[in-house]
């Protein structure tokens, strides 16, 4: 085994502020502003535009040399003022960059000053989160942004006052269930979850909701901020829910769900992403237990179709030696599915530094090589020696795939060189079924000498 290299060669992760955008974009009428130099916003806009094929506006406090020396308060305030004037948002998510963190700007304090000084700030909610690139990966940025969001907004009703938002979305008054999307998934995945919960008739608050905001329909009027996202009132009301379920929270440090549990005594169940039959069943069982309502019959048939597909595919995929890499929760879900199908995951890797991931992966596939904090040069080395049939992960694995002549099935963010990242469904019985189809086809095409 190689000792950890001093330099990172071809990164398998991104930086913290990137994760925060995925959360802020899932809030209704919310703009994101990075406190730092202009480049961070532009680079991440470009990166996300490539992936989602949508316009992505992220503001910047555009710190210059002066700001770096004397502090960035003036720039940050001007930036907030301009975002309000230009975009008229209900909320602004402010994420710091390495520059702002290193010069030591106190963002919450600057925001308080801004709120006191600026009449325009009156109707705007500010959510600030500390996301220095050097501290951790985009996954952690996502988790802390989601946590800060709930921490900033979730409130019990004032004594004697009513609920913050009246009726739940199915007209019931009893507590809803918080569905926290604990790791990065696609707009199609979120749409699927909402459809499932709606069809089930459950009262829920889903957060963050990127189903429309990162995959907007073409319309006659393009709004300045894309429509959709979780309403702020719903986020406030999350303190009054009867339970919280975090999907994609299997191996994450305490996040929004834990905060709600600690602060408001709302029971919290962290679950894996519903990928693969077992993990899907776990989500369904959890919701049935919480609500006493059985999953609608249509979804039972969907489950049956998934199982039917898995049976159909089992010989095609049997014993296929795979390398799975990318975000921790997605990788675990994919690994579980592969073991259910009789595939043999050989390399289970993530760019994140996460010991709980390594433990969980070892349980799922004890004979595999498990890597955390990995870069692609390390993954490539393993791929070259382990006789891999199929790589599954973000498009950034393409150089390794090409060099080692192994087909790459693109799953997760980023995916810049193929269409459909926004529409790629991997969650639930249906999403898993699509994954099974894609896994089988990738192996068939590879055998036929088709496209990698």
């Amino acid at each position: 085994m190689l000792s950890k290299s001093l330099a990172t060669v071809n990164p398998c992760s991104m930086c913290m502020p990137m994760g925060s955008v995925l959360v802020f974009r899932g809030i209704e009428n919310c703009m994101t502003l990075f406190h730092g130099s202009q480049g961070c916003s532009t680079y991440m806009r470009l990166y996300l535009a490539h992936h989602f094929r949508e316009p992505v506006d992220i503001a910047s406090s555009a710190l210059s040399e002066k700001g770096a020396v004397y502090g960035g308060a003036a720039n940050l305030k001007q930036g907030l003022r301009n975002v309000i004037k230009g975009y008229n948002p209900k909320a602004i998510g402010i994420a710091t960059t390495c520059l702002a963190e290193t010069i030591g700007d106190d963002v919450p304090q600057i925001v308080r000053e801004f709120q006191a000084e600026e009449p325009l700030a009156k109707d705007v909610t500010f959510i600030s989160v500390s996301t220095p690139s050097y501290a951790a990966s985009h996954e952690v940025g996502y988790r802390v942004a989601l946590k800060n969001l709930v921490q900033t907004l979730a409130r019990k009703p004032e004594p004697g006052g009513g609920r913050t938002s009246g009726l739940t979305n199915n007209g019931r008054i009893d507590g809803r269930i918080n569905i926290l999307v604990g790791s990065i998934v696609s707009p199609a995945d979120v749409r699927y979850l909402k459809r499932l919960l709606d069809d089930w008739g459950l009262g829920y608050i889903l957060l963050p909701d990127i189903s429309e905001t990162f995959d907007a329909p073409l319309s006659e009027d393009m709004p300045r901020i894309p429509l959709g996202g979780t309403p702020l009132d719903d986020i406030r009301d999350s303190a009054n829910s009867k339970a919280t379920v975090t999907i994609g929270g299997l191996v994450q440090e305490p996040g929004a769900g834990d905060f709600l549990k600690k602060e408001f005594e709302i029971p919290h169940t962290p679950l894996p992403l519903p990928i693969g039959l077992e993990y899907c069943d776990r989500l369904v069982a959890c919701l049935e237990e919480l609500t006493g309502e059985a999953m609608p019959e249509g979804y039972e048939r969907e489950r049956g179709r998934l199982l039917d597909t898995m049976v159909d595919a089992h010989k095609i995929v049997a014993d296929a030696r795979t390398a799975v890499f990318g975000d921790t929760e997605t990788v675990l879900g994919l690994t579980r599915l592969m073991t259910e199908l009789g595939m043999r995951p050989q390399i289970i890797a993530t760019g994140a530094i996460n010991p709980a991931f390594a433990e969980a992966a070892a349980k799922l596939a004890p004979d595999s090589r498990i890597m955390t904090g990995a870069d692609y040069s390390e993954i490539a080395e393993e791929v070259s020696t382990r006789g891999i049939d199929l790589m599954v992960g973000p498009f950034t694995g393409r150089q390794t795939a090409k060099k080692e002549k192994v087909p790459l099935l693109r799953v997760g963010l980023p995916n810049h060189d193929r269409f459909g990242a926004s529409h790629q469904l991997m969650l639930g019985y249906e999403g898993t079924m699509h994954l099974v189809d894609r896994l089988a086809n990738a192996l068939i095409e590879s055998k036929e000498g088709g496209p990698a």
Partner: protein, 471 residues
């Protein structure tokens, strides 16, 4: 003022014909305005990254390296080391205690693993703040490793992309003149500000060679370190992307007495005049004759293919938003050749001279904009009735959402636009996007039950508008 969204942006937008002061430009972007610009580091990266056999090490946290890894269309005819992403991946402790030791160790390790002929080390924002002495570390490493190790002072916050161009040019300047060379031809040139996006240079270089000219080095498209090192041996510098490379051309003129000429390889007229410029400089009658022969031959070859498209796009309105001004100016001429009107033209990093030149060549009524943002672009595209936007990926989806055709003319484009064949590609690109049937599809569906009073469900069924959004 044609659009007014942000206070403080007034001086950056004007309409030709307005009686107004010179355009404000080349200053810090307005906070909160969502500038399309990147940073100093990005400027340096754009210029240096196409150097194919060099190792590009980003000294900083992982983000700066992650978002710039293999995202550009600059092609290589050989080595592919430049397609990798190298980073010192600074962590919290490096920020607290300084990253010099980690950098020095990383340089040793990478040189040992990849044997590059040279290493460029880019500094990022926090390196500037914590004060790592890049110069000293690089100097020591160069001595130890026996290869050039060049610091690129590209802390993101120290200005805009233009500062990054300069930082890159300074690094290149250090490399130039470090290898002896006598060109094989008495006529020799360098191509500056040519990045071989989508293989552009391969449809340009053969014509110079046909004229008996040796291209010593291309800076930096498909270049090797050794070529840059002997670039001082050329007799003439042809500068295409003037924003990024004029600075280097001037430095080379000063030190090596190599004169420079501005040219462009985009558009039939510009391509022809680039060949003529070289021939005239060397003042060789045979070469001039050869140039004319090439121009006549190639123009005749491609014209029928281009004209097919011209007929389909003539009279349409184009908007241009480019990183640098040189490309923007070339595009104006190209659209004139195609019979199209330019209604908006803007750049991220143009300077006063650039905007004067632009103002001179565009028609009255054209909006000129510096350092634009999505809200201004959106309003301008609608108000000016643009049929097409030529820009980069960030702007692509804005255009599409507005029902406006789009052509990618940035560093991540994958279709060659330079030289004679490039113009055929460009004309086709413009044609297929402007004349795509997708713009004729109704954005609003016509409902058979719209307006029927006996039906109570009317949600989502409003007045039917048959006109497509792209009119």
């Amino acid at each position: 003022m044609i659009v007014k969204i942000f206070e403080g942006r007034e001086g950056h937008i004007q309409q030709k014909g307005d009686d107004c002061l010179p355009l404000s430009c080349n200053n810090d972007s307005l906070a909160g305005a969502v500038s399309q610009r990147a940073c100093v580091y990005s400027g340096a990266r754009v210029v240096l990254n196409p150097l194919t056999d060099a190792l590009h090490l980003v000294h900083g946290p992982i983000g700066c390296a992650a978002y710039t890894w293999d995202i550009r269309g600059a092609s290589s005819s050989g080595p592919d080391l430049y397609r990798n992403s190298f980073s010192t991946d600074m962590k919290e402790l490096d920020v607290v205690f300084g990253g010099e030791k980690k950098l020095a160790a990383a340089l040793r390790e990478l040189a040992d693993r990849f044997h590059p002929p040279a290493i460029f080390v880019y500094s990022t924002c926090i390196v500037g703040i914590i004060g790592d002495d890049l110069g000293t570390v690089c100097k020591k490493a160069a001595e130890e490793l026996g290869i050039p190790v060049l610091p690129v002072k590209s802390e993101g916050f120290r200005g805009n992309k233009n500062e990054g161009y300069k930082a890159a040019c300074n690094a290149l300047f250090e490399l130039i003149g470090t290898r002896d060379y006598t060109p094989k031809s008495r006529y020799s040139i360098n191509l500056l500000g040519e990045y071989n996006v989508a293989g552009d240079v391969w449809s340009v270089k053969p014509f110079f060679e046909e004229m008996g000219i040796e291209v010593v080095a291309t800076l930096t498209g498909d270049a090797r370190v050794a070529e840059i090192q002997r670039a001082h041996a050329a007799r003439l510098n042809l500068v295409q992307c003037s924003g990024s490379m004029t600075y280097l051309a001037k430095k080379m003129e000063e030190k090596y007495a190599i004169p420079y000429k501005r040219i462009s390889f985009f558009g039939l007229q510009d391509m022809a005049s680039a060949l003529r410029t070289a021939a005239e400089f060397f003042d060789s009658p045979e070469m001039k004759e050869k140039a004319e022969e090439i121009i006549v031959r190639e123009t005749a070859r491609v014209t029928p293919r281009i004209e097919r498209h011209h007929a389909r796009v003539s009279g349409k309105k184009a908007a241009i938003y480019m990183g640098g001004a040189a490309k923007a100016v070339s595009l104006v001429r190209a659209f004139q050749e195609m019979g199209m009107d330019v209604v908006i033209i803007g750049t991220q990093t143009g300077d006063r001279d650039d905007y004067e030149k632009i103002a001179y060549i565009v028609k009255d009524g054209t909006v000129i904009i510096d350092d634009a943002n999505p809200l201004e672009l959106k309003e301008l595209l609608i108000k000016q009735g643009a049929d097409l936007l030529v820009a980069g990926v960030k702007e692509r989806f804005l255009a599409y959402k507005l029902g406006i055709a789009f052509c990618d003319f940035n560093h991540d484009r994958t279709i060659s636009f330079e030289g004679f064949d490039g113009m055929v590609n460009f004309a086709r690109e413009v044609d297929i996007t402007i004349n795509s049937p997708v713009w004729q599809l109704p954005v609003k569906r016509e409902s058979p039950i719209a307006g029927r009073s006996d039906l109570t469900i009317s949600a989502g069924v409003e007045d039917v508008i048959q006109e497509p959004c792209h009119s």
